[in-house]
Amino acid sequence: MIRNSTWAPSRPERAFRIGVGEAGLLPIMVSLLIAVLVIFEPRFATVQNAINILRNASFLMIVAVGQMLVMIVGGLDMSIGATMALTSVASVLVMTAVAGALPDAPNLAILTGIAAGLGCGLAVGVINGLCVALMRVPPFMVTLGMASVVGGVALMLTSGVPVYGLPQPFIDEVGRALWLGLPTAFYVALAIVVGLALGLRFTRPGVRTLAVGGNRQAAAVSGVPTGVYLLGAYVACSLLAAVASLLLTAQIGSGQGAIGDQLTLESIAAAVIAGVSLRGGAGRPELVALGAIFLLVLTNAMDLMQVDSKIQSIWLGAFVVLAVVLEALGRGVSRRG
């Protein structure tokens, strides 16, 4: 950055830079939103409502940080929703089958079901990752195609009808249990977000992932096996989607062929709002989690105000556009510095 010695940032620019700082506008937006809601909508500020928000946000958080990983390496994963559907369906089918064959070992059924679900995530992630890393296919198209394929398989397995027969302990322990008033999903999400935040910043694989996204050729020249990291990002993303799906399935109580339809786009929205660049190379899991919370608070607020869910779509779209435009403008400001 070349600094002109006779130039100094104007008051507004300095204020913008100090206020926004490294974290971007998101924390400010979230705080403002929550403050406005607390003042104007009494039903918002209840403990029960907060728990609801956190519970719903947990699933989006997990999926969104997965999407963030893929975006960090310069890609996009459009198959998250479909992966979740397949995981949900496959895990329940396996659980019911094993439980039926060995009724005295419900835990075995649950474990094999979980393994099957995670296996689905792994398989989809590997296919996505190989296509992108080996064949250099545009991630958007490959994952879009995979979404169709995987989604179709999921629907085929269920003929479009929810799959029942989940072992009760799974639902009770994992899905609907409350620890300190908060659901299991929340703690899993918390662990994942914290783990990734520390991992990306302080571990070698983490730093290398950021490097691969920031400047792939430089990373390759420095000896980083870029292909492996690309593959890893997509595998991680799909695995995280599978984890979220297992938690969501446990909460719902049945395997759903259409689980996660909205979540693909919402995960992109949450990541983008959190300042993750589509060009790659940057991403803060804690901000993405905040972005997920922001979206859920927004949805919750609109629900409380009885805004129609169809109009909510309009607001969601508008906010995503606004967030991205603000980020672009912000880039312009900091570039002048």
Binding site: V137, M146, S148, I268, G317, V320
Partner: protein, 318 residues
């Protein structure tokens, strides 16, 4: 050479293959049906091509189709029911409203993405949600009925020289787009913008203005397609857009339009649309389940994208 013949060859092979299983596919009535179906998808694929060529994306394609359908129907119903004027006015106003709405969406897409230098992916994603929300809201989630029947009789049942109106209108639109892309400086500049944006800027091309133009034209074209589809169902449908986004991109890419920008013609879009329509028609006639069809479409997309990458490398090497 191979790439230009590949898709037409595949189409012929597919047709013959299906005919072995369901000979009905080659009957004149079905072939005419096929061509009419292809016309619709061809319009959307062409619209998407206009944007793909500039290295952009129009994710709002399906949702804007739904929104335009609802808007057109509502305008027609309101004007026809309100004043005692000839119903033709209602239809004309509806068509104008539809095209205007389409142009507005395109204006938003192009202006925001080009103006703020933001990836059009995110912007069109936002407008997808907005269009979907508008479509659902103003329609109340239900189809808009009582659209004047003259609309359908002209835009769907109408025939000139025994050629169905949809084919004529879609064909005309695609021809216009082709002439623009192929024969005008404006059109050729779009290829440069997509293929080498920096060169385009250096060459003095008003890149932002041209990008806005591309998006406006694309959305207006898809609004036209929406009108044709609305005429087919005879009502404004808030879910008309359905799978159109994936199909339009798939058609363009399968036909040979490159996702990297700078390559692709209307001919490619039409070929791709033909391919997908025949595949879908063949599967329908063979009683293949809906879910399997989705899988098939996805596989086609993946294969098409692979081929696109391979051909891109060939192009760059050759």
């Amino acid at each position: 050479m191979i790439s230009t013949l590949l898709v037409p060859a595949l189409i012929v092979v597919m047709l013959l293959g299906f005919s072995l299983y369901v000979p009905r596919i080659l009957f004149p009535r079905n072939l005419m049906n096929l061509i009419v179906q292809t016309s619709y998808l061809a319009v959307f694929a062409t619209a998407q091509t206009l944007v793909l060529v500039t290295r952009g994306f129009d994710l709002s394609l399906g949702a804007s189709v739904s929104m335009v359908s609802v808007i057109a129907a509502l305008v027609m119903v309101t004007v026809a029911g309100g004043v005692g004027e000839p119903v033709v006015y209602a239809v004309v106003l509806g068509v104008i409203a539809a095209l205007a709405a389409g142009a507005l969406v395109g204006l938003f897409n192009g202006a925001v993405s080009a103006g703020f230098a933001v990836n059009p992916f995110i912007i069109t994603l936002g407008s997808l949600n907005i269009c979907y929300g508008i479509a659902s809201t103003i329609s109340g989630g239900r189809p808009v009925f009582n659209v004047p029947t003259v609309f359908s009789s002209v835009f769907y049942d109408g025939r000139v020289l025994n050629i169905p109106a949809p084919i004529l209108i879609a064909g005309g639109a695609c021809l216009g787009a082709h002439l623009l892309l192929d024969r005008t400086v404006l059109g050729r500049s779009l290829y440069l913008i997509g293929g080498n944006p920096r060169a385009a800027a250096v060459a003095g091309i008003p890149v932002k203005r041209r990008l806005v133009f591309a998006y406006v034209l694309a959305s207006t074209l898809s609004a036209l397609g929406s009108l044709l589809l609305t005429a087919r169902t005879g009502s404004g449908e808030p879910a008309l857009g359905g799978n159109l986004l994936l199909q339009s991109i798939a058609a363009a890419v399968i036909g040979g339009v490159s996702l990297r920008g700078g390559v692709g013609t209307v001919r490619h879009a039409i070929l791709g649309a033909l391919f997908i329509t025949i595949l879908s028609n063949g599967m329908n006639l063979s009683r293949v389940g809906g879910y399997v069809q989705e899988i098939a479409l996805g596989v086609c997309v993946v294969i098409a994208v692979f081929l696109d990458v391979l051909l891109s490398r060939q192009r760059r090497a050759g």
